[in-house]
Symmetry: C2
């Protein structure tokens, strides 16, 4: 994934000690060729996992999830964010705290789109504190489906999400792990 790290180093903007923007290729403009290579790599890493469904979360996970699903030849389900209540009978839902926006929101998936026979790979663009990923893992658990793991494009390794989720026994494959961004300089693990 050297080309991904190269692109991050060239194009990503460090806008605060813990926030990096990848607007140029990952979550506002989408570099399809790069996303396709990313999808191919996730497919290689989880090739023997029997994945039959990819789960992501709106909005910026959708592009990576689609370009990954294409290589697996499976379908995508994207979790929605919103105000639906936890107790709704037809959805699996989980509460997620967004550090970026300083507020809690619900993330939910219609029950009809996750079955206990499924083997799910979670895909997302960023992993920092792990809140969104924990919400998606919770939803997979509720559905009774098996979890193959999580494929992340950029992990901020200096924030605790990745470590905490791996400690729970979830396989997390991050294509680029940022060790530090001190003084605006991105250093990879």
């Amino acid at each position: 994934m050297d080309f991904l790290k190269k692109r991050i180093a060239e194009c990503a903007e460090v806008i605060s000690p813990d926030i990096v923007k990848a607007d140029m290729f990952l979550n506002h403009m989408l570099d399809l060729k790069l996303l396709d290579a990313i999808g191919e790599e996730f497919c290689r890493r989880f090739a023997s996992s029997g994945v039959n469904k990819i789960l992501t979360i709106e909005a910026s996970g959708i592009a990576v999830a689609c370009m990954t699903a294409r290589h697996f030849q499976v379908d995508v389900v994207f979790a929605k964010k919103g105000v639906r209540k936890n107790s709704s009978a037809d959805v699996f839902s989980s509460r997620v705290f967004s550090f970026t926006h300083g507020e809690e929101y619900n993330v939910f998936v219609s029950k009809k789109f996750l079955q206990k026979e499924d083997k799910v790979l979670i895909i997302d663009d960023f992993l920092a504190n792990g809140e969104a990923l924990n919400g998606l893992i919770d939803i997979v658990r509720q559905s009774g489906a098996a979890l193959a793991g999580a494929g992340i494009v950029i992990e901020k390794g200096f924030q605790p999400g990745g470590r905490l989720i791996r400690e729970k026994g979830v396989r997390v494959e991050s294509l680029a792990i940022i060790k530090s961004m001190d003084g605006g300089k991105i250093v990879f693990d």
Copy 2:
């Protein structure tokens, strides 16, 4: 696009006289094979338009846009929804009224992602009253880029958006146009 109409007839849910849900394949679960065929068809229809960029709007436009961009071998820009003010210097933005949610929101694109040399194809999943599409067209106009047209997966032909936008001289290609949904029965144009 008979296979799309077939899928709509089989899977889409008419939940009120003017709302149809395509959750099963278009905007919650994503049928990648179907989306890929849709993208191929948009590419065929706009093949001679010199498209070099695809513009869509989060969240449910992203998947179709990506699977279309793949065939054009171009990149995608997705407009974001939010509370950013119209006057921000670094974004093109437009106000959009959502009939679904009964509220207005801003839609915006960073200026750096649309240039006047661009030839833009707008892609979206649904066209009804045309509010979102008008917002995207407005953004393209602001940028000075050329507009190749709009590719829509499902147009609700009994709502005025498509007619009004075509009357402005914009080329709108809708793969499935629903003429009526009276009594929950979907009839295509």
